[in-house]
């Protein structure tokens, strides 16, 4: 139907994925749990740091829309970063490793990783 909720007949023949509802396949990466937590994400983050930075930027732009003073971002950068040390191992070191390689501030990587809990706000 062409009015919300735009329901349609149950689709058939969509697999293998092609056409307008298929945006792209998903690449594979290995994460070696024997390597140090701080290093195990390096290859992936090196490959994806541009996309990660773009995502973080779009969320920061949204934050600026709501809080033009930039105080919220400052709060994230200064307030969330120290919370990383309260996380259980190996998550604390993994987030630091991701911040190291991506160049994204640690507080913002923390926000990304606890966004589920934050989103309820």
């Amino acid at each position: 139907q062409f009015v919300p909720p735009y329901t349609e007949d149950c689709r058939k023949g969509m697999y293998p994925p092609t056409g307008p509802t298929f945006k792209g396949s998903v690449p594979w990466y290995k994460i070696n749990l024997d390597s140090a937590p701080r290093k195990r994400w390096n290859q992936l983050i090196n490959d994806k740091k541009v996309e990660l930075t773009n995502l973080i930027q779009v969320i920061k732009d949204l934050a600026i829309d709501f809080f033009p003073s930039g105080k919220l971002i400052e709060l994230v950068d200064k307030g969330l970063a120290p919370l990383v040390d309260t996380l259980p191992s190996p998550f604390d070191e993994e987030l630091k490793g991701i911040a190291d390689v991506s160049g994204v501030p640690l507080g913002e990587i923390m926000l990304f990783n606890i966004f589920y809990e934050v989103f309820t706000v």
């Binding site: 969509m14 990466y29 070696n32 024997d34 992936l44 309260t86 998550f91 991701i98 990783n113 309820t120």
Partner: protein, 253 residues
């Protein structure tokens, strides 16, 4: 999000999900879509977590996110997580955490730990049902034996319900969106009814990864928030994920 676990006539189990995210986080007028999902899609990756060069578990993640929302321990169990809304939500957990009460576990770190450490469907179910959390959630868990499939409805501190497959009573699948399964979903966001209609039309005899992909491609189960679709076959140990688009007309959620 929409997650399901289904058992076919031969007792084979399938677990699949649409990962929807980014509601109200900025609308892109030019492209008629939410902004955040468009930045999450290119970050979607499949991960093979290994120890001693052997697979411990696999998952579909957003690069930079170390927890797990979609994962599988090959030959053992599959796990997805859908958001659950509650006034007693994650923000309370965060305030408690900041004030020093740290007995709860962050949702995606719990799922990651379960996939890393649990060695059976039963053990995984027990850990997901009984570990105190910072935020409420739905955990959708599939096993590798007939009948092993359930939706665990969690508050931050308790397990409210475990809804299991029950083939004797004709419950050959369990399906969860973002509302308690014993309640009517919000009338503005009923993806459950169209999804279950398509599951019932497909029937247990014809359920497969292909037909499940069809169901997860049907609007409004597929919507503007859908970033990827994952299909998991626990006995084959395969997880395949695809970035999605929802061409207009399409529901914003």
């Amino acid at each position: 999000c929409t997650s399901l676990v289904a058992e076919d006539k031969a007792g084979k189990l399938y677990h699949a999900r649409n990962l929807d995210f980014g509601l109200f986080l900025g609308w892109d007028i030019k492209n008629n879509s939410w902004m955040v999902p468009e930045y999450l899609k290119p970050l979607t990756v499949n991960l093979d977590f290994q120890r001693n060069n052997r697979t411990v578990f696999k998952s579909t993640n957003f690069a930079g996110y170390v927890g797990v929302l979609t994962g599988m321990k090959p030959g053992t169990f599959t796990l997805t997580m859908n958001e659950r809304f509650s006034i007693d939500g994650g923000y309370i957990g965060i305030i408690e955490w900041i004030l020093g009460k740290r007995s709860g576990v962050w949702m995606s770190f719990l799922t990651r730990s379960v996939l890393e450490n649990a060695t059976s469907y039963t053990q995984a179910k027990d850990q997901l049902a009984n570990t105190e959390m910072l935020a409420p959630a739905y955990f959708i868990l599939g096993g590798n034996q007939s009948g092993e499939g359930c939706v665990i409805t969690r508050s931050r501190t308790a397990c409210l319900d475990i809804w299991e497959l029950d083939l004797k009573r004709g419950r050959w699948y369990v399906l969860e969106t973002n509302y308690d399964h014993w309640k009517v979903p919000l009338f503005l966001d009923d993806r459950r009814t169209p999804a279950m209609k398509c599951m019932n039309l497909t029937t247990q005899a014809k359920i497969s990864l292909e037909s499940i992909y069809d169901i997860l491609s049907t609007k409004p189960v597929l919507n503007k928030l859908t970033t990827y679709t994952s299909l998991m076959d626990v006995s084959a140990g395969t997880i395949e994920s695809y970035q999605r688009n929802c061409p207009d007309p399409c529901m914003p959620w």
